[in-house]
Symmetry: C2
């Protein structure tokens, strides 16, 4: 799960909230490499205040992403309980890709988080990945997905599709079709339609 909120002076908390709100907007508008100065300006906060709360760009991104990760992990559990394995996996991957596509360049940040075990986000990121891996294993146990795929590869593939989606409108229009192609590649030979 994401880090729970610490006790803070109330004015500091207000600044923090303001920064997160503005950052979400700006990142969605301009992508993950948007100017931090600009974010501070639009939040009407000193630049140093931004740095005090979020010592690095990733820290800021991470605070925004933690909730998404937690939400996706929770959704995975729900899906596993409510649907047959392959359907649960498929639905979850679509949700994941939609999420990743919403933030431009999020996929890059995501992959970097995976590789950086010291990231504050690492815990909730790997919790989410674990949830996905469990869905994958269920589908494999049910004979729906070929056994020679692991969670990392699954995650990488879907992330890759989400990324490319953000780099071409023409491709974006066919995101679901691309995911279908990938999912068909993952299907166990016996379960193909």
């Amino acid at each position: 799960m994401a880090t729970p909120p610490r006790a803070r002076r109330s004015d500091a908390q207000r600044n923090r909230d303001r920064l997160l709100e503005v950052a979400r907007t700006v990142f969605e508008e301009q992508g993950a490499q948007a100017s931090l100065r600009d974010i501070a300006r639009r939040a009407e906060v000193g630049l140093g205040t931004l740095y005090r709360h979020f010592p690095t760009r990733d820290a800021l991104l991470d605070s925004l992403l933690g909730r998404h990760f937690d939400a996706l992990a929770a959704q995975a559990a729900d899906l596993a309980a409510a649907h047959p394995p392959r359907e649960a996996l498929t639905t979850w991957l679509r949700a994941f890709a939609a999420q990743a596509a919403a933030y431009q360049d999020l996929s890059a940040a995501l992959m970097d988080t995976i590789n950086d075990e010291t990231s504050p986000l690492h815990a909730s990121c790997s919790a989410m990945r674990g949830a996905g891996a469990r869905l994958l294993r269920d589908a494999q146990d049910a004979g729906d997905v070929r056994p020679d795929v692991d969670g990392l590869e699954l995650f990488a593939l879907v992330n890759a599709v989400a990324w490319i989606t953000g780099h071409s409108p023409a491709v974006a229009a066919r995101r679901d079709h691309l995911l279908d192609l990938v999912l068909d590649g993952l299907a166990a030979p016996s379960s193909r339609r």
Copy 2:
């Protein structure tokens, strides 16, 4: 094909060559967002000279990429002549992915080129894409690849895999396996092993 070399004053030509050589090295070292100032410095050339020859970062990238595109297009023709359709396509896609993975962030530049018809690279980029699309069509005509995939989707998928490869060493180690998964997704049901 890439733009043929123009007539130039010999000192200008020398600077141009030098810049391209240094740029290739630096881009491979640091990725496509490396500092242009740094490139000019290492080429021992005024910053203005770099801008004179390559008015934008993309122009510089493009000059480096044009040759690769031409080479890939030529290779596609060779493969089509020498191998059965599915094998030709597979081999070509592997070569493409290896090429794209060599430059970090190349995939992003590539997708942007596709979308920008005014890019000087657009011609050789689409020539290469056309060559790939032809291999795809051959494989489809032979019944080896499902008919509901087009060149753009193929290109996007392989590009996506190449990109993710550059963002995680663990994933990079399994590039061929990921490509296999994607290629299996493209296989026509009847031709599955």
